[in-house]
Amino acid sequence: MKLDIKQIEEIARLARLELNEKEKKMYAEQLSVVLDYVEMLNEVNTDGVEETCQVTGLEDVVRSDKVEECPPDVEEKIIGNFPEKLGNLLKVRAVFSEET
């Protein structure tokens, strides 16, 4: 499976990664190599084989739905990790711009 620069740009857009031209070229080559390699799975007949999503065999694991208070010092630390803030509020760029 060969990927071209256009496909790499689309994958990077979906993944929210800004790439420069050199990176696009490099990843186009490397991803193609990896995808070629994993093609070997097509040798394996998987007709009627169930998928493995998890290996524990556990089912319907539940816990009581109760709210745990966040201690004030932990709250302070979480807010302390905000890259930008306004008082205790997290500051972000506008989600809707005028053009959209």
Binding site: L31, V34, V38, L41, T46, T52, T56, V74, R93
Partner: protein, 485 residues
Amino acid sequence: MSSALNKLTIQQAHDGLKKKEFSSVELTKACLARIKKRNSELNAFITVCEELALDEAKKADEMIKKKKPFDGSRSKQKMLLGIPFCVKDAICVAGARSTGAAKILDNYIPPFDATAIKKIREQGAVLLGKNNCDAFGHGPSNENSMYGPVKNPYDLTKVAGGSCGGSAAAVADNMCIFSIAEDTGGSIRQPASFCGVVGLRPSYGRNSRYGIMPMASSLDTVGPMTKTVEDAAILMEIMAGRDERDATTVGDKSIKSVKSIKNLRVGVPREYFESEGMDKEVKKIVEKKIKSVETHRNASIKIIDVSLPMTKYAIPVYYIIVPSEDSSNLGRLDGIRYGVRAEADNLYDVYAKSRAVGFPEEVKRRIMIGTYALSAGYYDAYYRKAQKVRTLIIQDFNRVFEQVDILLTPVSPFPAFGIGEKKDDVLAMYLADVFVGPAAVAGLPAISVPAGKTKAGLPVGLQIIGPRLREDLVLKFASLCEKTK
């Protein structure tokens, strides 16, 4: 005595503290002195918490003095009191900068402990710092860290292995008594083999994953890296068990239930010895080690030649499932709520630029492979196909475990390789995990114990793989292998 305190095992350090032969402050200072002396060369730590460590050690000493925590039945509960340790940087530790070895979290200080770390700190263990690793656990060489590669204590021109190269080097070089690390596809076992220490990947679900920076949620495990098998067992007893914050944890805590390993049937899967690129010296060392176990006079062990034909498909399965789950998990790192945010005019650019400068090359590569494999139209061909082959790999192991109780294999086809040697060959790097990938894909417990050294003086590990949730068997057998020569 105090100059060699950093060389002690958990059991030895515990005994010494109990008998008041030395204090936790002395023990901690010995480790810190070793870190100071060696870290600029080895680069095993991203963050050293000197002040915090000495403070915690002082508190431990006071407790030992006043409260007699080692008396009677309480002694078992306080096995780790006053013992200095370190943690892979991709595991969250409250109050200690935890970067995951990526610049996007350069300033991140978690407000909470991962469950496994919480259990260890509740015992009064002393945190020395955070170990370097491949960013978010991506890689078998520790060269994917944005804080530089870790060097192998046995040869500074060689890699320490990955992803937990920092943990392995710190334990091997006696910068700590033990380290807690994380294994998704070999991250504990392979560096343990390269640095000559003990590293256990537990069964998936045995230890809580809560608080580790998630890589592949269906494979990630937290495990110990130690100087002895005994120490690994001590840590497993403390960490194991059900956690409400990780729905995949199992309640079973039987780490030491097996009494005897006499008449054990030991399988040696031929696919692990006939692999392409297998180093002849490594093969010889591992075969010699297996022979020494077979001829051990008290064991009456029967070695049986077995076959695991699906072995070669584990790496392609791994490199679809892991990047897919990675790409989804790493979506949370976007410079919004924590970590480093890039300056940009609009929201999309904040995401794209923060991630562009905050992730190293390999992290971006995996995110893109995963994004592609999960995208509309390709999901069935890649992710679903890999999940089906994963089932066949599990069945392969199940079949073999009807014939034998345990498996012995090499950990890596080669000893530690040169720094930079495989850097430009993505596939060669991925294939370094060829012997550690299968057990991970199947969710099985597996340990690396030192088997010997090459003529050049590089350590080689022996891998012991057990059936699911049979850590008791794996550990008991590993402690026999540790003794044979």
